[in-house]
Every structure is written in structure tokens, then in C-alpha cells.
Assembly symmetry: D3
Homo-oligomer: 130 residues x 6
């Protein structure tokens, strides 16, 4: 695997948004099964598209969460709530996003978003108080 | 139907985002079949949730589009591209949103978003030049 | 293909719900490409599950439409609105179903349902007046 | 928050369908994060749409479940199985709904519905025997 | 229930792909609630469509997994990874399928597929070593 | 944009599967709006993932179609039917794929696949006879 500046930028953004557990810990412990997928995430996702201008990172977190709530991806909603908070999303913005999703995705999608938000915001407050 | 301040605010926002064709023309020509649905859209959607603070209207247009692209709602993508442009979305922001959707929703969703964007942005340029 | 009583019952129900165009016209003009799929629809769908007791046919039309609205299958919504009207669904019940879908599937799903309902109910009134 | 007759009717229906745990316990313990969403559920969902004539409550439970099975919302399927039983749905009707979903949503959706039904119907029998 | 050659062929394929736990154990312990659904799975799914020529069983496992990843059916992905391995799918083919799904379904779908693959392939290696 | 060997391989595969209309015609006429998306399709999709060993191209076409049918992407189903035929998919394999999708995605998904298959296979026969 080539580790050039695109790769490095992707890894740095992963570290910023998800900590070492979502960056080095994952890319340094890949197996034959998942090494290419990890490269795709680092290089194409966080090293290319997420690096582009035109939408800042906080806004990219917001639209990412909108897409994840819409498609019912509960696991990734939690991951990107953490990443979004690292990118500056506030509790108020998260609440408004989940409320807004009720309009276009229905109550079950919104409730799933709120369950994730309650959990991750509580975790985030604990970390801040530690 | 009660036409109070919540209703009026919703109708005004519909007019701002979609013109008379997406506001008076629809609510004044309702039938037994669709009058309650039109009230839901005016009062609950644009008169309540869209009126809240915490996310400005341009950002609400952006997350609305993110949800519509994620769920493959081609018809509404076009409607909310028009509304989003009225709320201040730029061509660059629309492009970045569609590109970003490739990551979380796959190529077909992104391509569907780009097809709609090409169409509505061309229409928007024509109107500006008229 | 075996044409036994299950097959016959399925074909008769297709004729009742969709007319000859959705029954004989389809099963008698199959090709190598679609003959097995037509048999699946006649035998497994309308000849088995739809024949069961426990939910009457009007109610089966209602839950079928609920599933089609939820999954955004616009083409089949139209087909099953016609079939549902043949099974006794009223305009009021159709309206309430579409309104109800707003709660659990969001506005775009409901609006898609209403667009189909307007079209098929108009067609149905014309036929009644002819 | 205004607590008028629409709000009261919604809360009463929530209590009827889900018990105190799905009514008072939730609306009296809201936080800044979820108070508006709880109001949406009480007022717009159960206080408005669910109160309408044209489809009785048992039928509304049935179409709600049809939509939840179609969109794979396992958590809400369980909640609305409980609510549906409170609204009069029988084991036979629940079985036929899940079987019917196989036709329009595929085997995985139907199996997910059956897993939820087995769990909630067992729970319901225990409560009846207690 | 009629137990003819179609039924027998379906049960045998279920046993081959999922072991006794996914075959006899399920069909011999049915209840009023799930007996028809079990018959549908044995007779229509594994006794008819899966028995057809034109696509071999390994390829049918691959396209089944593609559909399950695309629709986010995590529970069935695990079941059909086991069935696919019994039908001859290799670790390399499973990896490539999950990577490929990133293109058409997005990263969350692919990551969900990889999580299931890691789990089931580890289980499969343990069984082979036992 | 860098046009290296990965880019060239991607463009060549696009040309092989979709003709000049799906290759040069698209990448040489990009605008500010879609140039990056076209690069993503050429480089990441057809220049990287589609180039990998482990699944041959015909099999990749088959799983791509499985994903597109499952997610209801009618437009892309047509595009990838053409590409799949170029990669060697036969009418029989296409029929079996669509039939198989009935099991895991339901009748509306399968019927949508058959409608696309009828259209594209007719087009393909005409071209062969021309």
C-alpha cells in the first residue's frame, strides 16, 4: 500500500474525529480480509472527499449523520456522532437534525437517531467531566 | 382548518422556498383527498420544525437533500434543490453534497443526485438570465 | 407448468383485482424470460398467501399498499390501488392510509402515495361514469 | 408546551396502547434533548393522525406494522406489536401480516417480523396468565 | 402440509447449507405461528427457486449476500455467509463481495458486511480446526 | 486530474462495458459540477475495485445487478444490464438473478428487474441483428 500525502491526510482526519481507536489501531491491525477496505476508508473517504473545500467538516458531519439516519445505519450513527462532536457539532444541532429527520424519514428513523444521540452525548459529557 | 400564526409562518416559508406554485396554488386548490396532507406540510413541517432555531434554513435544506438522496426520492430532490437555492445553497455546496453522498449511500444515489442537480441548476441559471 | 386448483384460484383473483390485462393477457403471453416469474405471481402470491383466511382481501390490499408506500415502489402502488379498489377500498381509506404513512415513512413517501392515489382515483371515477 | 385537547387525546392513546411506560413515564421525564420529539409523537402522531376516522385503530396498527416490517425497523415492530395487541390485533392477524410481507418485502423482512412476533406474543401470553 | 419431492429437495438443501439446526430442528418444531412461513422457506425458496439451473449454488449464495448487504439485513448476512461457505464460497470471494458493495451501497453497508464476515469466517476456521 | 495507469485501466473498462457513450463521451465533457464525480467513477470504481482479482468481471456484474435490484435503482439496473451483457452475462443468468431477487427483496423488486431485462435484452438482440 502506498502511504502518500492523501493517505496521511486521511489518517490524520480519522485520528482527529475518532481518536487512535478509529485510526492507527485499525489500520495497523488489518488482516488479509480487511486491509483494502481500511485503505478505501483512509484514502478515498477521509483522504479525498472529506478533504475537499466547499463544505466544512462540521457540515460534512451533519450531512453524513443525515444520510445515516435516513438509511437506518444505527452502528455508524454512533461513530459519526462522536466524529461530529469532535468536528464541533453541538447538542442543539444534533437535536435539530434528529427532529428534522422526522419530516423526511418518519418517526422510527428519528427515534433511532435520538436513542443514539442520548447515548453518545452522555458519554461525551462524562469524558468532558473526567 | 385553523389558520393561526403557525400556519401563516409555514405558508410564508413555502412561498419563499417554492414560489406561489408550491404555496397558495397548492393549499387553495385542495380536494377532499389531499387537504389534510397539505395542512400537515404547511403546519407541522414548514410551520413548526423548519421554523426552529439551532439549524439555519440553508443548513436545513442541505440535510433535507442529504436525506432525500439517501432514500432515493428523485422527485423531492428536485423540489428541495429549488428550495435550497432559494435558501442560499450554492452550486459548489450542492456538488460537494452529492459527491459526499457517494461515500455513505453509494454511486447510484450520488449519480441520481447529480442528474437532478444538473437539471435544476440549469433551470436556475436560465431564470437568473431571463 | 402444472395448472391445478392453486393455480386456478390465483389466476381468478388476479382477474378479479386487475382485469384480464393483469391476468390472462400476462400469463398467456409469457416468454422464456418471464414465464416462471408469472407462475410465481399466480401460484405463490395470489394462489397461496392471498387465499388464506385471517385477513380479508380488502385488508390484504391495505397492508400491501402500506408496504409499497414504505419501500417507494411507485409503479406497484398504482397497480395495487386498482386492485384495492376492486377489493372494496374506499377513497377515504386510501386517503387515511397515505396520511398515516407520513408518520412512519416521512413526507416524501406520503406525497408519492397521494400522487398515485389522485391519478388512480380519477381513473376509477371516469370508469364508473363511462 | 401547550397541553390542549389534542395533546390530551394523544397522551391517552399512548397510555392505552403502550401503558404508562410509553406515556407519562416518557413525557414527564423529557430532557432538553428529547422534549420536542416527545411532543411531536404525542400531538402530531397520536393526537392528530391516529385520532382520525376512516381507519379504525386496529387497522392503523396493522398498516403501521406493515410499514415497519417493510423498512426493517425491528425496535419499533416490537413496540407496535404491543400497541396492536392492545388495539385488538389477534395472533392470527399478526401471523398473516408477517406471511403477507414475504410477498412484497422478501423473506428477511418476514423472518424479522416473525422473530418479533414470537417474542411479543409469548410476553403477551405470560401477562395474560399472570 | 404435503411433503412431496419439492419439499424434500428444499429440506435437503437447507440441511446442506445450514446443518440440522437450520433444517429439521426448525421444520419439526414449528408452531401455529410459524409453520406456514417454514413451509414457504422450504418449498418455495429452497425447494423451487434455489433448485433451478442457470446459476449454480455458489453463485446463488453470492447474489443472495449481495442483496442482503444492500438491504442491511445483518442477521441474514450471517446465516447466508455460513450457507455460502457450505456452497463453496472462499474467504477471497467474500472479501471481494464486501469491497464491491462499497461502490453501490456505500461504506456503512460494506462495513456491516465485513463485521459479519470477520465473525463467521473466524467461526468457520474454528470448526475446521476442531 | 492525474491520468495514470489506474485511471487508464478504469476508462478502458468503462469503454468495454458501456461503449464510448459511457466512457470518453462522459469524461471529456465534464463540467465544474461533475468532473470530480466522473473521476471517482473512473478511478476508484472501475480503475480500482473492479480491477481486482477474486471475482471475475461477469460475476462482478451479477453482484452489482443484485445490489441495484435490491435497492430499487431502476436507472442503473439498465446501465449495468448493458455492461453485464458486455461482460458475458447470458439471458438465462439474468432471468435467474431476477427470479432469485423475489426471494430476498420481494415481488416489486423482481418485477422491476424483469421490466428492465425485457427492455435491455430486446435492445441487445436488435443490435446483434443489425
Amino acid at each position: 500500500m502506498i502511504k502518500d500525502s492523501q493517505y496521511d491526510a486521511g489518517l490524520e482526519l480519522r485520528r482527529h474525529m475518532f481518536g487512535a481507536a478509529g485510526a492507527e489501531d485499525q489500520v495497523e491491525n488489518t488482516t488479509d480480509l480487511n486491509d483494502k477496505m481500511q485503505e478505501v476508508v483512509t484514502r478515498y473517504c477521509f483522504g479525498d472527499i472529506w478533504q475537499r473545500e466547499g463544505l466544512d467538516r462540521k457540515t460534512r458531519s451533519l450531512v453524513t449523520l443525515a444520510m445515516l439516519v435516513a438509511t437506518g445505519r444505527s452502528h455508524e450513527i454512533r461513530i459519526h456522532l462522536r466524529g461530529g462532536i469532535a468536528n464541533g457539532l453541538t447538542e442543539e444541532e444534533i437535536r435539530e437534525l434528529m427532529l428534522h429527520s422526522f419530516l423526511y424519514c418518519g418517526i422510527p428513523a428519528a427515534m433511532d437517531g435520538f436513542r443514539a444521540a442520548e447515548e453518545i452525548l452522555a458519554e461525551s459529557r462524562e469524558t468532558a467531566n473526567a
